[in-house]
Amino acid sequence: MTQLKQHISSFLTAWIDAGIVSTDDTANNYKLRSINKFCLFCLFTSSPYYFVFYYYELLPPFLIILISHIFFSLVVLLNKVNKYSWSKFILILTTSLSVVSITYMLGFDSGFHLYLYTSPLFIFWLFKLEEKRNIFIAFLTYVLVYILLFYFKLNIKPLYPVIFKIFFFDIYSLNMVFNLFLMLGLFYNYSIYYNLLSNNLLSKQKKLEEEINLRIVSEENIKKLFSDLSKSYSSLESFNFIVSHNLRAPLSNIKGFLDMYDKTNQDLDTNNELIENVSLAADNLDGILSDLNVVLKSRKHLLEGKEHVKLKDIIRSIKISLNAEIEKSGAVIEEFFPDEFTVFTIKTLLNSVLFNLVHNAIKYKRDNLSPHIRIISHESGSLVTLIVGDNGQGIDLVKYKERIFGLYNRFNRNIEGKGIGLYLAKTNLQMMGGDISVESILNEGTVFKITLNKD
């Protein structure tokens, strides 16, 4: 019983709230609700008067039913704010058509009885249509009612004629007035609703456009972040590989030598050799660990924030650090960039990259030729390019291009070095969103090109 009450009240609320799309516009909403209430009243009170149309043969019976259904459908159509109103609307329309066609074929009595009998069911199900199951059941109900009507069509008799004939005159004129108001109200209601809807749509469209723009920007950010992340990840992965790879070799050497050790063997020479080798392997391990420590320490600098750094300051500090080497080799460092040229970067990292490049240029100089190093800056679009060129030995890039930036890859046995500097330069620059590349001609010189994002 309470459920039925709920259904009735929700039916009424839905009807009264028809056409209300915004909760902000209270004055307008009040107007809309008043009109809806009046229409509702008209529709309910005017329904019985359709009999009169019929009994005085003012309209064909199927048209009478059709009109009442059109009103009903219109109200539901106006109630489109409700999520499922379209399905309700279609349901009403199809059933209306069925009722009208039955009235047309079998006569008013059958059609109108069908209308009367099914209306409560119809209203009952109308507000529970959120579930597909209910739509199905509603349809089944109709089908059942139709079948029954066809079966009993001969036994159905008009129910109301006598009562309404008595009040004929008053009721007829009243009905005309009511219906007029009803139609006007519904149309007015619809026009307000339409305006509200289109305004709403316009502002929604604007909002959507803004949102789309925002999303495009954030998508670009995400893409950039993703590419940075994947670079960091691949760098981390290769670092992981390097660590496990390089540590395994000396460790397995130690294990191998220890396995070879035979307690029962009194051959002192062999045992001494074994011990010596174990200690050599341990030294090796120690060296690798301290190298990895250097790599990790430099990674830590990635956490430092980027800042605007004067290139001139960096080069000056490098010159101070390499003072002895520069004097000894007679190196000349030429600067081809404006005094005020700044780079937005992590200072420590750019410093170490440039330090390595300048140091390499001095280390791998040609015999009997003083190093001549040029540092050039170049800006284009969102990129800053720094070029470090020398007149040194050069690198055979046909052979070494792929390996030049790898860890522990060395190309000259005669000069001391570990093969860490360029590896660090490449990986650190990549993690900052930049990169480094190399061009070189043997016995002519080498040019390293660093690219960085402007911001």
Binding site: A249, N277, A281, N284, N409, R413, G419
Partner: protein, 127 residues
């Protein structure tokens, strides 16, 4: 003159020392000639006048001249010596390259345990 002359090219001195000790102890019939640089090994092959090695153990990842560079030069010498790869790289790329491009069918991945090294040498010397 020993029955076998084995050439070993590896930039990791400890690997060479380890393998040398194993060979000395278990295969007195074999003699080792070792190089920590592929260039030196190549020079040796170019100038050697007496006994040529019967087999070459080759590392791939070496500075300056790596295993592939060595193989390119070695092929030019047209010597009939079997090459065995003994490397720390287990990359499929390297394995495919050694088989397809250089016809090397013995590929060992370092580091090998003592037993594995023993087995490796045994399989090679027992032929």
């Amino acid at each position: 003159m020993k029955q076998y002359l084995v050439m070993m090219i590896d930039d990791d001195l400890l690997t060479i020392k380890f393998n040398t000790m194993v060979v000395k102890k278990n295969h007195p019939e074999a003699e080792l000639v070792t190089f920590i640089s592929a260039q030196d090994a190549l020079e040796y092959l170019q100038t050697v006048t007496n006994q040529l090695p019967d087999i070459i153990f080759l590392d791939l990842n070496m500075p300056v001249m790596n295993g592939w560079d060595f193989m390119d030069e070695f092929k030019k010498l047209n010597l009939d010596i079997e090459v065995v790869v003994l490397t720390s790289s287990s990359e499929k790329e390297d394995i495919d390259k050694s088989v397809q491009s250089y016809g090397i069918d013995k590929y060992f991945v370092k580091p090998l345990s003592l037993d594995a090294v023993k087995t490796m040498f045994r399989s090679i010397f027992s032929k």
